[in-house]
Every structure is written in structure tokens, then in C-alpha cells.
């Protein structure tokens, strides 16, 4: 009887550790409408209009209010090496991870401020993440116990300046809920500001520079309970500063987007006191639109995190948090706009 209880407790602790590792290795950020717009629409249609003095006058149908909305469904299945962001070598719990996401966004008007244009956005998403890894020799023989649903909601203000720079500020709420236990694993508020500049490199190459700064205020289950101060509910709180550069390459029907990003993160609470991370990511997305509302994609990325600092016991954080991750996936996306 005691053996069974011990195994159950051990299993619960391992699951908790894996969840915390997974939450800690997940990047959450506010959407960047300008970068997304550039990525989705770097290709235009061809219409060989001859030059004239005045120029071609093609009539458009415009909305009066500037209010618009879209909703969609994305499905992505990916082979992931180290999907939970465990420290150490890359090849851990290599797994097919399937993410299904429903998302929506509303643009609340277009406000012309003479030298810039302000656009408020609200949006949200609900994503289901399913793991398929099974190995009876592991502490968690079936990784599907870590399946979770992520809910996000955000309010965002985008200011497009005539110089081409786009500034954004907003706040996002996010929470992860375990499918297995129907409990909240993690929640956070994330106020953030960012700036984006897109510029042409050649006829079919577009560079997109994006920088953002934000602060994550999270709430995760206290690992050692309220009686101990080693772990705390807010130990995953951190500030981050991220620089991202993408090149959008437009072929006939394909868009290929390689991206490099580097993120600096600073933790100051509980077990993670005085911890700093540098997370680098390099990835590529290949998009193939079937129609205006249906798109197929391939994606791959490699991430590496390096942590610095020591915990209360003097142990270096790098043994706990340094990781490498690799993903290779394919997805489809359906979007409806109105």
C-alpha cells in the first residue's frame, strides 16, 4: 500500500517538474500585427497596368468604420526533440506534438492622427496541445498526462508612423489548464511594448525587424508549499527583451521566412532569484496558400537557452535550465475575415 502511495507521489512530483519545465520553456508574446501582415502578404497579385500620366484608377470597396474581425483554426503537428524543455541533451522525449488552435481578432477602428495611424485590437485564442510520447521505462510512461489547453486574450494598440516604424503596446492574459486533472497549471499577465520596421531588400525580399520588451507576472503552483520559501508561486516572473529579424522571401506561390531571435530574460523571485537567461532561436516557415483563407505550411526551428546565476544552495542554474530544442512540423490554417 505504502509503495503504491510512494509511486503515486513520485509520479505527481515528476509530472509537476515536467509541467514547470514545459511552462518555463514556453515563449509567450503579444502578436505583432505588422510582422504578421508582412509575412502573410509579402506577395502581390500581378496586374500589368500600363503607365500613364495620372496612373491607373482602380476602384476599391472600403469599409466606412475601419472595424473588422477575423477568426480561424490552425492545426500543426510537429516532431519535437525535447518538447518539454528539459535540461541537457537535445534528444529527450522526442515526440509528435499536435496543437489545434482556434483564434479570433477584432480591429476596433482606424484612427488617423495625421503623421500616424492608431489601430486598437482585441483578440484571443484557445489551443489544445496533445503529446503522443510513450515509454514504459520513463518516469512518465505516457506523456499525454501533460496534455493541456492554453487560453489567451489580449488588448493591443498599434501605432503605424509615417516613417515606417510601427509601435505597439498591449497586455495579454494567458493560462494553461491540464486536460488530465482539469486544473489550472499556470496563468500570467504580460504587459509589453514593441516596435516593428519592415523594408524591402529587393523585389521579392522583405526584411522585418522587431523588438519588444515586457514583463511576465505569472502564477504557478508552489512546488514546496507555503511553509517553505524556496519555491514560490511567482518564481517564473521575469522581464524579457527580444530582438527578432526575419527575411520574407516571396516565390511564385510560396513564402519562405527564415527568422532569428534572441531574448534576454531576468528572473528575480523565489527559487529563480538572480537568474538570467539568453534564449536564441533560429527557424524557418514555408507557407503555401491554397486560397485567400486556406494555407498549408512547413516549419522548423532550433532553440537554445543558456542560464546564468546560482540558486540558494549555490548550484549553478545552467544545470537546471540550459536546454536545446528542435522542431519540425507541418500545419494548415483556415481563416475567415469579415
Amino acid at each position: 500500500m505504502n509503495t503504491h502511495i510512494s509511486i503515486l507521489l513520485l509520479s505527481a512530483l515528476v509530472t509537476y517538474g515536467q509541467t514547470q519545465s514545459r511552462v518555463d520553456s514556453t515563449s509567450r508574446s503579444l502578436p505583432s500585427p505588422v510582422a504578421e501582415s508582412a509575412q502573410k502578404s509579402s506577395k502581390g497579385t500581378s496586374s500589368d497596368v500600363e503607365s500613364s500620366d495620372t496612373g491607373a484608377q482602380r476602384p476599391l470597396l472600403l469599409k466606412k468604420s475601419g472595424f473588422s474581425a477575423s477568426f480561424g483554426y490552425d492545426s500543426n503537428i510537429a516532431y519535437k526533440q525535447n518538447p518539454l524543455g528539459a535540461p541537457g541533451v537535445l534528444d529527450q522525449q522526442a515526440d509528435a506534438v499536435w496543437v489545434n488552435k482556434f483564434h479570433g481578432m477584432a480591429k476596433l477602428g482606424v484612427y488617423d492622427l495625421d503623421s500616424s495611424v492608431l489601430t486598437p485590437f482585441v483578440g484571443g485564442a484557445w489551443a489544445m496541445t496533445d503529446y503522443t510520447y510513450k515509454n514504459s521505462n520513463e518516469a512518465i510512461p505516457d506523456l499525454s498526462v501533460l496534455n493541456h489547453n492554453t487560453t489567451t486574450a489580449y488588448l493591443l494598440f498599434l501605432l503605424q508612423h509615417e516613417s515606417g516604424w510601427a509601435f505597439r503596446a498591449g497586455v495579454m492574459y494567458s493560462n494553461d489548464r491540464s486536460v488530465e486533472s482539469d486544473t489550472e497549471e499556470y496563468k500570467e499577465f504580460y504587459p509589453s511594448v514593441g516596435v516593428t520596421k519592415a523594408y524591402p531588400l529587393s523585389d521579392n525580399l522583405l526584411g522585418v525587424l522587431d523588438a519588444s520588451v515586457g514583463s511576465h507576472y505569472g502564477d504557478i503552483e508552489d512546488a514546496d508549499g507555503p511553509t517553505s520559501s524556496s519555491h514560490t508561486e511567482d518564481e517564473l516572473d521575469h522581464i524579457d527583451a527580444t530582438l527578432r529579424y526575419s527575411i520574407i522571401y516571396s516565390l511564385e506561390t510560396l513564402t519562405i521566412t527564415p527568422t532569428y531571435s534572441v531574448s534576454y530574460r531576468k528572473y528575480d523571485n523565489g527559487f529563480n532569484f538572480d537568474r538570467t537567461d539568453v534564449l536564441q532561436n533560429i527557424g524557418v516557415v514555408i507557407q503555401y496558400p491554397i486560397s485567400d483563407s486556406f494555407e498549408l505550411s512547413l516549419n522548423s526551428d532550433y532553440s537554445k537557452r543558456v542560464s546564468d546565476g546560482n540558486d540558494e544552495a549555490g548550484d549553478s542554474y545552467d544545470t537546471l535550465y540550459d536546454f536545446k530544442k528542435f522542431d519540425l512540423g507541418a500545419g494548415l490554417s483556415l481563416t475567415a475575415s469579415f
Binding site: G44, D53, T54, G55, A56, L60, L61, G66, T119, E162
Partner: protein, 263 residues
């Protein structure tokens, strides 16, 4: 002291008067450009003109098939397209007989535009293309800008980047308004692209394109042509025959696709 102040005010006022009323000069020309001095009513004797010629109110300017000219004044950019004819009555007053004209300013002011039949007053700043139409009126196409346009019978309307207004009749009134694709017009307009200097309002035009993109519902597969009469406006359809029901047939593309594509 008071005399100095009065002298200064008088000097500034005089300078402002002459600046506003002065005639622009040709700062760039390409191809053949003729002028006729209308002050001598007994003869009609065209002669060739060149850079630095003052565009006085008595000169009727006519550009040839490949001709075009530009006049940059302290406040304004003027460009007269090919096969065009008109007169600068001053730096703030232009009469267009035929062809097309681009006007650009970053300084809010009052500008009079007139054609054979119609006239209107623009108050504000912006980048505007005028195209004379067969019916004697003109198309007023603001690429960007802030301000109003006023006609005798049509009242006053706020200008909106990309919203073309038909200016018709005598007394003048407004015809239909059409939102037109600024990006496509910019790419295909010689008045915008075929001059050595770039317009100072390109960034604002970019913003006008951005606003249009944010509000876009669809594009018609058609191009607007001439207004042959006050009731008729030519419309040239392109694309597949199935898409001829007058509804928008092309879904919107993203802003950067439109700016940087080869569309």
C-alpha cells in the same frame, strides 16, 4: 522702436504677398514645351520655352507628346504631364485646359483649380492629381492630404486620401466619388515617377495606403476612364468575364504585399 516693428511687419507682409502671388518658374523640363503669350490678343504665336522660364498668368503652356515639366517653388511642387495645356495664374491658382497636373504641398494654403467648365478651391495641404475630362470638368484625386475642397454648387467636402472626386459643370458641383487603389496609381503614374526629384510627401502617401489597406473590403476588376459627359464615366473592365456583376472580385492583400509586390 515702434517704427522698427512696423517696418519689420511691413517687410514680412510684403515678402509674403510677393511669395504667394509670384509666378512659379520651370525647374525641370523634358521633351517639347511650347508657350503662347495670351497678353497679345492679336497674334497666336507659340514658341519653345526652357528651364527658368517664369510661368506667368499670360502664358499658355502646352507640353508635347513626350513633354513634361516641373516647377518647384518655396511652398509647392507643380508637375504638368504630357499632352497637357494650362496656365499658372499664380503659384496658388492653376487653369487646366487638357491633360493632367500634379500639385503637392506640405503647407496648408488655399489653391484654386479650374478647367474649361469647372472650378474649385482646395484649402489644406496634400498631394493631388488633376485630370481634365472631356466634359470640361476634372478629376480631383488626392493621394494624401488634409483639407477641404469647395465648389459653388456642391458645397464643401473633406478630402480623403485615395478618394477621387468628379468636379463637374458650371456652376460647379461634385459628381460621384470613388475610392481608388493608391498603390496601383502610384506605381503607374508618370506624374509621380518620371521626375528626377521625389515628392516630399511620400511617407504620408505610404500612410494613406496603409489606411486604405486597413479598410479594404475588395477591389473591382475595372479601371476608371474619362468622363465624357456629366452623366457618363467610362469604366474599363478587366479579368474574367464571370466577374462582371459589378461586385468586388479580388480579396484584399496585406499592406506590404501591396507596397512591395510587383502588382
Amino acid at each position: 522702436m515702434i517704427y522698427i516693428k512696423i517696418s519689420l511687419i511691413a517687410a514680412v507682409s510684403t515678402a509674403a504677398f510677393f511669395l504667394s502671388a509670384s509666378s512659379p518658374k520651370i525647374t525641370y523640363k523634358h521633351g517639347r514645351i511650347d508657350a503662347v503669350d495670351l497678353s497679345d490678343k492679336d497674334k497666336f504665336d507659340p514658341y519653345l520655352i526652357d528651364v527658368n522660364t517664369s510661368l506667368t498668368k499670360d502664358l499658355l503652356i502646352a507640353t508635347g507628346v513626350q513633354g513634361r515639366l516641373e516647377s518647384i517653388t518655396p511652398k509647392n511642387y507643380w508637375r504638368l504631364g504630357r499632352d497637357s495645356m494650362g496656365t499658372w495664374r499664380s503659384d496658388t491658382d492653376f487653369w487646366l485646359h487638357s491633360g493632367s497636373l500634379l500639385f503637392c504641398t506640405e503647407h496648408a494654403q488655399s489653391i484654386k483649380f479650374s478647367t474649361r467648365e469647372s472650378n474649385a478651391t482646395f484649402n489644406g495641404r496634400g498631394t493631388i492629381i488633376l485630370e481634365a475630362t472631356k466634359n470640361g470638368g476634372f478629376k480631383f484625386i488626392p493621394l494624401e492630404g488634409k483639407g477641404t475642397i469647395t465648389t459653388a454648387k456642391g458645397g464643401t467636402k473633406e478630402i480623403i486620401g485615395g478618394r477621387m472626386l468628379l468636379v463637374l459643370g458650371k456652376p460647379t458641383y461634385f459628381g460621384d466619388a470613388y475610392d481608388i487603389d493608391i498603390m496601383l496609381l502610384l506605381k503607374s503614374s508618370r506624374l509621380v515617377n518620371s521626375y528626377p526629384t521625389s515628392l516630399p510627401t511620400f511617407k504620408k502617401m505610404g500612410l494613406a495606403i496603409y489606411i486604405q489597406e486597413l479598410k479594404l473590403k475588395g477591389k473591382y476588376d475595372a479601371l476608371i476612364g474619362d468622363a465624357t459627359t456629366n452623366e457618363n464615366l467610362e469604366m474599363w473592365r478587366f479579368g474574367s468575364a464571370k466577374k462582371s456583376d459589378g461586385k468586388p472580385v479580388t480579396n484584399k492583400k496585406g499592406i506590404f504585399g501591396r507596397i512591395f509586390s510587383s502588382d
